[in-house]
Amino acid sequence: MRVLGPLYMAFCVVLLALPIAVVCGAALNGGRSMFFPPRDPTLARFGEFFVSEPVWTQALVNSVIVAVGAALLAVLLAWPVAYLLWSTGSKLSRTLAALGSMPFAVPPIVFGVGLGFFWGFLGGLGAIWAGIFSHAVLLMALPLVTISIGLQGIDRSHLDAAATMGATEAVTFRTVILPQTIPYTISGFFFVLVLSFNEFIVMFFVSASGFATVTLQIFNSLRNGYTPTMAVAAITFIGVSVLVFSAVARWGDLPRLMGADQSRN
């Protein structure tokens, strides 16, 4: 067991990293086609992706706009629901939380189809703001969970103390509740940011070829075969994910957010 355990973990990691490593390696190719191991290695593809090829730079800009917008909106939508759930625990608040999490729980293609019709009627199909709303609703479940975890961690005696000292609800909210939940709100924001960045199928239906994010652009280019520039996109995305989650782990309590037992370690 003592040897087998680490060995198994190593095996899992190698398998998990294998396709990622292959994609990363392929980004260094000098030519127009993907080879692994890379031939004629160069970093020119990075320039193409970030600077010189408008197809990719535009897609990257779209991805960033959608991800940041969706993350902000998702947090704004999730906060009142989580707060209502925590402060009242009423039936209505529980229903709202359940409905808000529903899009995340069903197969994403079904919600994508639904949003496709929805924006078709509202005239938002193919518009980037519709994409932002779509991702915000799809991923709202994540900040809902992280903010709820944060709110549950608040010591109720602090609230009583604040009330005893004559603080209004608004003051208590600003001075007690908000500061304690900010790390969890930010974690929720980043979870949405990263998942929106990488989401494909819902955006596929909502964009209706009106705009392209990086993942859409890659799928569109699959037909013409892979190019090393696509691998650069992959590297960028992995880099962003690692950075974001490291930040969450550094400034927030990642094991707790993931539901680890508090009493240990």
Partner: protein, 325 residues
């Protein structure tokens, strides 16, 4: 809190109560926003699934069961019966069941080992797991596609190392061909069920770790230690102490991943043979692809949703029943 304090605490609220306060408007506003954004899209899918396609044009509202009939027995029923669409749903289920089981069973020992590390090490591992979890389906499929493609990747490696020749000499090559994993010249993984299921399983593997993590990290380690002191081997401990304690989360995670995988699109289009495509691919081709029959696409989406809902409800019931026992 004494009664006086309680009154004092509630005082600031009092004068505001007559006016519409944010506290009163908020639930209503939220209900409307969430109702419109989270519920209406699903209602639209259901409503449109009863609609009718007009040849050469889009579609119109209607209330016809023709789409559902077409899904289960074909459009020309009762003269002709085809189970093509049911078969696609069958493939959706088949891939999703195997891939989710594979992911959970291989993630279980990994997660168990993970929870025994120090808090700092756990956080580092979680960063890695979460990063690979959030990695887009498109990139994952691209990676495996390069790895499994016939001209580069594993098949080329197998051929150049002489493994193909060895397989032919031993006679196992024919077995691989029977399984659809080899062409007359060399092993091949595209297109095959093996590649489809492998990629789908890879897709949800980090999710499996994340879903199992809370239950496993709450596992009472003293029980395992007690069993060990009484002389039970590692395998016996796993079977008699750990497994019964995590039976429910194990089952729940598999179910969630299964439902998630029912809608997989990219992996199936790239790795599965056209005859073995799933309902998700059919939905796409009806709504945005070549067929352009939105009502029928909506019907397939509704059936996929119902199938997912049915599985979740059944799982929930089973859980309750197991807990009650």
């Amino acid at each position: 809190m004494t009664a006086v304090e309680r009154i004092e605490a509630e005082m600031p609220d009092r004068p505001a109560r007559a006016r519409p306060t944010p506290r009163r408007i908020l639930p209503w506003l939220l209900s409307v926003v969430i109702g419109v954004l989270c519920v209406v899209p699903f209602l639209l899918v259901i409503a449109i699934s009863f609609g009718r396609k007009i040849e050469g044009a889009a579609w119109q509202w209607d209330f016809t069961l023709a789409n559902y009939q077409r899904f289960f027995v074909g459009a020309l029923w009762p003269d002709e019966v085809t189970f093509l669409y049911l078969q696609q749903l069958g493939f959706s289920f088949w891939y999703a069941v195997i891939a989710s089981l594979l992911a959970v069973l291989t993630a279980l020992p990994f997660t168990l080992l993970l929870t025994r590390l120090s808090r700092r090490a756990q956080a580092a591992w979680l960063v890695f797991i979460l990063s690979s979890l959030s990695l887009s389906e498109v990139f994952i499929v691209m990676g495996w596609d390069i790895l499994l493609s016939n001209n580069s990747g594993l098949p080329a490696l197998i051929k150049s190392t002489g493994l193909t020749q060895w397989l032919k000499d031993v006679g196992w090559f024919q077995t691989l061909r029977d399984w659809g994993l080899a062409s007359p010249r060399n092993v091949k993984f595209k297109t095959s069920q093996f590649a489809t299921i492998l990629t789908m399983s890879y897709l949800v593997w980090p999710y499996a770790v994340i879903l199992l993590y809370p239950a496993l990290s709450r596992l009472d380690r003293s029980q395992s230690e007690a069993a060990r002191t009484m002389g039970a081997g590692g395998w016996t401990v796993a079977r008699t102490v750990i497994l019964p304690a995590i039976r429910l989360p194990l089952f729940g995670s598999t179910l969630l991943l299964f439902v998630f995988l029912l809608g997989t699109y990219v992996a199936v289009t790239v790795f599965a043979a056209p005859a073995q495509h799933t309902t998700a691919v059919a939905i796409y081709s009806n709504i945005r692809g070549a067929n352009l029959n939105a009502p029928f696409g909506a019907t397939q989406a509704v059936i996929l949703l119902l199938a997912a809902g049915l599985c979740l409800t059944l799982g929930h019931r089973l859980n309750r029943w197991a807990e009650a026992r």
